[in-house]
């Protein structure tokens, strides 16, 4: 039996006195569409950055696709597709040049990279001319990042807010492609603040709060008792908060 796509145990990452990730345990089965939810500053992006090898961690163990971190970074990087919160795009390249470049960085021959880049540009309706990425809109940048994550046929997609800033048509296209990737056996691990999207796409969900997993399970398990995913989320991460009207000194609002 193949190991989980992601297996994290006791993961800790501190910035000075503050723990961004505080003893995180997580297992993402292969072939799942996994939603990783949490309020702002809960540790989602930090976790993704650790999984991609962008930042080191202080304690715990991390395995991605059966390869350990640290030590087997190159093996992991070759097998993941990444759509990060911060763009990895080189502004002075055109979309076509960037996609070809990414393909070659994953070890493809130039002609194959060019062919795939053309196909992806067409699929994502990106400009094929001389327009540089610097001139792209936010949604177009997300599309080209998504296209780049697909070019090498990865086994695992790590996506931080992939639909942010993308129009409805583009978002539908991206969702369809991701569902197809899961159907062919790939794993998708995504964060999103749009809970309806997560509810519709994901089969498993984990909610992280203050660096720890607050709740995890299948979408149906989390919705048990007639709650929506949003109800569960608010209850788990913000249920104890008072309504804003109760705050002192905000009468002017």
């Amino acid at each position: 039996m193949s190991p989980p796509a992601i297996l994290v145990s006791g993961l800790e990452k501190r910035y000075g006195a503050k723990a961004a990730v505080d003893g995180l345990d997580l297992a993402v089965p292969r072939g799942s569409f996994f939603g990783f939810l949490g309020p702002n500053g809960a540790g989602k992006s930090t976790t993704i950055r650790i999984l991609t090898g962008l930042i080191p961690f202080d304690r715990g163990s991390v395995e991605v696709l059966g390869f350990r971190l640290p030590g087997q970074e190159l093996a992991i990087k070759g097998r993941i597709g990444l759509v990060p919160d911060e763009s990895l795009l080189f502004d002075r390249l055109t979309g076509a040049e960037y996609l070809e470049f990414v393909g070659r960085m994953y070890g493809m021959g130039r002609s194959i990279a060019i062919e795939r880049a053309r196909g992806l540009l067409d699929l994502f309706e990106l400009p094929a001319g001389r327009k540089m990425i610097a001139e792209y809109s936010k949604g177009m940048r997300k599309r080209v990042a998504m296209a780049a994550s697909l070019i090498h046929h990865p086994e695992l997609f790590l996506m931080d807010e992939p639909f942010e800033g993308v129009d409805a048509v583009g978002a539908r296209l991206m969702k369809d492609i991701l569902l197809h990737q899961v159907a062919r056996g790939a794993t998708v691990f995504l964060t999103s603040h749009v809970l309806e999207v997560v509810e519709r796409l994901c089969d498993r969900v984990a909610i992280i709060n203050q660096g720890k997993i607050a709740v995890a399970g299948t979408v149906d398990e989390l919705r048990a008792g007639g709650e929506s995913l949003e109800d569960t989320f608010v209850r788990v991460v913000g249920g104890s908060r008072e309504p804003w009207e109760a705050h002192q000194g905000l009468e002017w609002l």
Binding site: K77, F90, L93, G107, R110, R130, M132, E135
Partner: protein, 533 residues
């Protein structure tokens, strides 16, 4: 409001500087120490010069101050700090107040000149032949204000012009020519024929520096004060008008990619792909990407253009001298003209290539850490890409030198290539370390932006002589033994040593990049405050 902007900037700067603040301070002490020495010299001269000489020397000094203040930030490709209007325009801030902050920032980019003017003013006050008075202090203060207002207008105008395609290269050439014109006149025979007329024109009573000097010396008969007031009002109008135009300027529209002819695009593509035909991936792919990036970056294009234009304008007058081409063929400068100008181009381009090789990637530098390729391949590819424009510069310079009959044969071209290649190894070795230890993101669109992080300017001052030293030893050996063979052997040894040092530092830089990746990405992706520099 002004306090809020300055506080936000202070907080942003404090976070940007981080641990490098000691080095920044050291660099500042060194730089302003030099200018303090100049201020002391101005004080000493002004305190003892006879009144008759002050009539000429004070206007000349003020003219020099004005020229430096207005042009130095432009030719050094670093126009200092400025308000980031994109961030501030969203707020209901009166334009007059923003303009006031902009004027204050111009003060920061002319601190050297304030030092010199303070020295000169103090000297004048101590001079028994002049009368230190409130009028004198007032004249200097108004002259400073004139320069601040003019600098603000010049900066706003240049910032806009430099974003326009084709205009910026022409502008750099004109500015460089203006900057070296006095030097050219002094060093060539033109001086004797024109000096009196040029000097006379430069000291006309109606010019701002002459008016300020006359006002400071109490010579009211020359209408000094009215002229000075008029110039200051004109500078205020110019500065404010340019600032308002900058507020309304749409840089994105000016920079939008123009439609390119298919033939030209295909040719450019062929050139970019050439390294990939020789080098295997990933190095080939990264070199190709870097060349595309550099060629499309206004900052780089300006420096590349300056490499052979400004380089020639600086060095050519020294070779031509006062008696024309050929008269100084025996001087070291003339016999090694191509080598020296090529080394100048190498150092100039280093600002945005090898000293800070991740600069243009900014937050996208994270890409290098998520790709399944060793980071050493990225560094090597960036080093190779940084050298391609240098050799293109040498080719252009060789062509110009040949046209000017400054080249005697192919030997000089080979020598220039060998010397630049050797020095490059040392500079790249040091650059790889500084790129990892002191990374700083650069906006490739801001043609006025300096390339090097302030905190390692000092290191660069130390590194350049060190990098050139091995090649200099080869020249010394040639001179001592009068032998080309000895020169070639010493240069080859220097190159071999350079290759070893490069190899060692490459491994060290790659390992350090992995360890420091979080800090590197933070430094490259750090957003600036309301003031950009």
């Amino acid at each position: 409001m002004i306090a809020a902007i300055l506080r936000a900037q202070f907080i942003a700067m404090r976070r940007t500087f981080g641990t490098g603040i000691a080095l920044s301070l050291l660099g500042g002490v060194f730089w302003y120490g030099l200018w303090s020495f100049a201020a002391l010299a101005a004080f000493s001269y002004m305190a003892s010069a006879p009144a008759a000489r002050l009539d000429t020397s004070l206007p000349l000094l003020l003219a020099g101050v004005c020229l430096y203040w207005q042009l130095m930030p432009v030719v050094s490709a670093s126009m200092g700090s400025s308000l980031d209007l994109r961030k501030l325009l969203a707020y209901p801030l009166p334009h007059a107040r923003l303009f006031f902050v902009e004027i204050l920032l111009r003060l920061a980019s002319g601190l050297e000149m304030i030092l010199v003017l303070a020295g000169a003013a103090a000297g004048l006050a101590m001079n028994p032949g002049t009368h230190g008075s409130a009028g004198m202090a007032c004249a200097f203060a108004v002259f400073v204000l004139f320069n601040l207002l003019l600098a603000s207008g010049v900066r706003s105008l240049l910032e806009r012009l430099l974003t326009r395609r084709k205009v910026r290269e022409l502008l750099v050439l004109i500015t460089a020519a203006l900057w070296v014109l006095p030097r050219f006149i002094l060093l060539t025979g033109i001086r004797s024929r024109m000096s009196d007329r040029v000097l006379g024109a430069a000291l006309a009573a109606c010019l701002p520096w002459s008016a300020a000097a006359h006002a400071a010396l109490g010579q009211v008969g020359t209408f000094a004060w009215p002229w000075l007031a008029l110039w200051t009002l004109a500078a205020a109008w110019f500065g404010r008008m340019q600032f308002e135009r900058s507020l309304r300027y749409d840089a994105a529209a000016a920079q939008a990619s123009p439609a390119e002819s298919p033939g030209r695009a295909a040719f450019a593509d062929l050139c970019y792909r050439m390294p990939s035909r020789i080098l295997p991936d990933p190095v080939g792919a990264i070199v190709e990407k870097e060349l595309r990036t550099l060629a499309r970056s206004p900052v780089f294009r300006n420096l590349f253009f300056m490499g052979f234009t400004f380089g020639l304008l600086v060095w050519l007058p020294m070779v031509i001298g006062r008696t024309g081409v050929g008269a100084h063929r025996d001087s070291f400068l003339a016999t090694h003209f191509l080598t020296i100008v090529s080394l100048y181009a190498l150092t100039l381009l280093g600002q945005v290539t090898y000293w800070n090789c991740l600069a243009f990637d900014r937050s996208a530098a994270a890409f290098w850490f998520v790709m399944p390729q060793p980071i050493s391949a990225v560094v090597v590819a960036k080093n190779i890409a940084s050298q391609a424009p240098v050799y293109l510069e040498i080719a252009v310079l060789a062509g110009i030198s040949s046209a000017l009959r400054l080249l005697t044969g192919w030997g000089e071209v080979v020598e220039a290539l060998a010397v630049v290649g050797t020095c490059s190894l040392y500079m790249l070795a040091m650059g790889n370390i500084t790129s990892i230890e002191y990374p700083r993101g650069l906006n490739p669109d801001r043609a006025s932006q300096g390339g090097s992080a302030g905190r390692f300017q000092l290191l660069v001052l130390v590194f350049y002589p060190l990098a050139i030293l091995p090649a200099a030893l080869a020249f010394l050996a040639r001179y001592a033994f009068s032998s080309e063979t000895v020169f070639a052997v010493v240069l080859a040894l220097a190159a071999a040593m350079g290759a070893i040092i490069y190899k060692l530092t490459l491994g060290s830089a790659a390992a350090s990049a992995i360890d420091r990746r979080e800090a590197i990405l933070q430094a490259l992706g750090t957003g600036e405050g309301p003031v950009v520099s």
